[in-house]
């Protein structure tokens, strides 16, 4: 699976030095990367640190990204390699981090939202339950997008409705979920 059209445009902007595009990319993929890194390191603090380093490395290496994999797969690979180096260094007295990153080269936006990466299990269940109880049309479009990774065009063909309807249904799902989250005070900030 290669790069999506949306990520392709985002990458082109980042390669052109557009920091706003980079910021958007960090916001988009940080939760997924944090989830993987927390699962890998079993440490939220270490995962935070590795996540930060990963995005610094992404910024530094963005010109080497050829679009042969999805953008997140590439980000994921960098993150996991950094995590492996971290493990290797902790297992060997003589080892040293091979990734000497100059953090001054680019300031990765820091978001005061680590809590969003670690929603309490019971809250997660509430959200999932809420999603499962969404009306069928909204849930179908949203699930096809989020779980199956379908494009709006593909979803429109599957459920036989205009693309604009798909777009508004997916947004409706997100809006309702966010309202639920705010109402339940699950995510602050």
């Amino acid at each position: 699976m290669g790069i999506s059209k949306g990520d392709e445009m985002l990458i082109a902007e980042i390669k052109a030095g557009n920091e706003m595009a980079f910021e958007a990319m960090v916001l988009k993929y940080r939760p997924k990367l944090m989830s993987v890194l927390i699962g890998y390191t079993k440490s939220k603090d270490l995962a935070e640190e590795l996540c930060q380093k990963t995005f610094i490395r992404v910024w530094q290496k963005i010109n080497t990204f050829k679009g042969e994999s999805s953008l997140f797969t590439w980000v994921y690979r960098i993150g996991i390699n950094l995590a492996k180096n971290e493990f290797a260094s902790s297992f060997s007295k003589n080892s040293k981090m091979t990734d000497q990153l100059n953090q001054d080269q680019h300031d990765v936006p820091e978001y005061r939202s680590p809590e969003t990466e670690l929603i309490a299990a019971e809250s997660e269940n509430k959200i999932i339950q809420f999603i499962q109880n969404l009306d069928a049309d909204t849930k179908t479009a949203f699930t096809l997008r989020e779980i199956d990774g379908r494009t709006y065009d593909e979803i429109a063909k599957i459920i036989d409705c205009p693309i604009g309807t798909v777009r508004s249904r997916i947004f409706r799902a997100r809006k309702l979920i966010l309202e639920f989250i705010n109402q339940e005070n699950i995510i602050n900030g």
Partner: protein, 230 residues
């Protein structure tokens, strides 16, 4: 306001034109609220994908729903369900990672060897991944309960240095047994280069994890035998 956020949602999905994207990037840059919302879209997405097993059933329901309305669609929905249920993930073993000797070199690394596998990993159940990574990283035989001797395939004998490692001189097999099932109702297996990992839920509520260079054709007999004796 909703139209703005709908555009933000479409941007998250990579569905805007180049000009629209430029516009929304500028808006996000000057609007912290939009940045927070965009980030929360990512949090929701991560949550959805991590709980994809629960969503699977919804896709299967979706298939039934479409069956009623449009039989042609059924195959598409079935394909989607199959993608979700596919849990064969390719791993790359990394012997150097923990500087372990050959005997204990069957360490699992989550460095995945192919893009397809990485994507599959991301869609797979996080708890299962964590369980496997935990076992492979721990490298401690004492964290496992003792396995019954009659579960061991014929021709395999125990390694005196590791009571959970068995070998027939050609193939190696490791066992890990503990009191958890991770919601697994039937045997799941994962391929890791030339090695395989089998997650075998037992009737008494425990989970047996077996890993080694034993392909499913051979493991199947072992698993049947374990079920007969458990």
């Amino acid at each position: 306001m909703d139209k703005d956020l709908e555009k933000l949602s479409a941007f998250y999905d990579g569905e805007l034109s180049h000009n629209e994207m430029q516009e929304i990037l500028k808006e996000m840059h000057s609007d912290e609220g939009k940045r927070n919302t965009f980030h929360k879209f990512g949090v929701i997405s991560e949550l959805m994908q991590r709980h994809s097993d629960e969503q699977n059933s919804k896709i299967i329901h979706l298939r039934n729903y479409y069956k009623k309305t449009n039989p042609v669609i059924t195959n598409i929905a079935t394909a989607a369900a199959t993608v979700f249920l596919t849990l064969i993930v390719l791993y790359q073993f990394d012997e150097d990672r923990f500087q372990v000797n050959k005997e204990t070199s069957l360490q699992l690394s989550s460095a995945i060897s192919s893009d397809q596998a990485k994507l599959q990993l991301l869609n797979a159940d996080q708890n299962i991944m964590e369980h496997m990574i935990h076992i492979m990283q721990s490298n401690q035989s004492n964290i496992s309960q003792q396995v019954a001797q009659n579960w061991i395939p014929v021709g395999f004998s125990v390694n005196p240095k590791n009571p959970n490692q068995y070998s027939n001189g050609r193939n190696n097999l490791f066992f890990h047994l503990e009191n958890k099932q991770l919601g697994i109702k039937q045997v799941k297996y994962f391929k890791a280069n030339n090695n395989w990992i089998y997650l075998i839920p037992l009737k008494d509520g425990r989970l047996l994890t077996a890993y080694g260079d034993i392909p499913p054709s051979i493991a199947d007999q072992m698993i049947q035998s374990i079920y007969q004796r458990n």
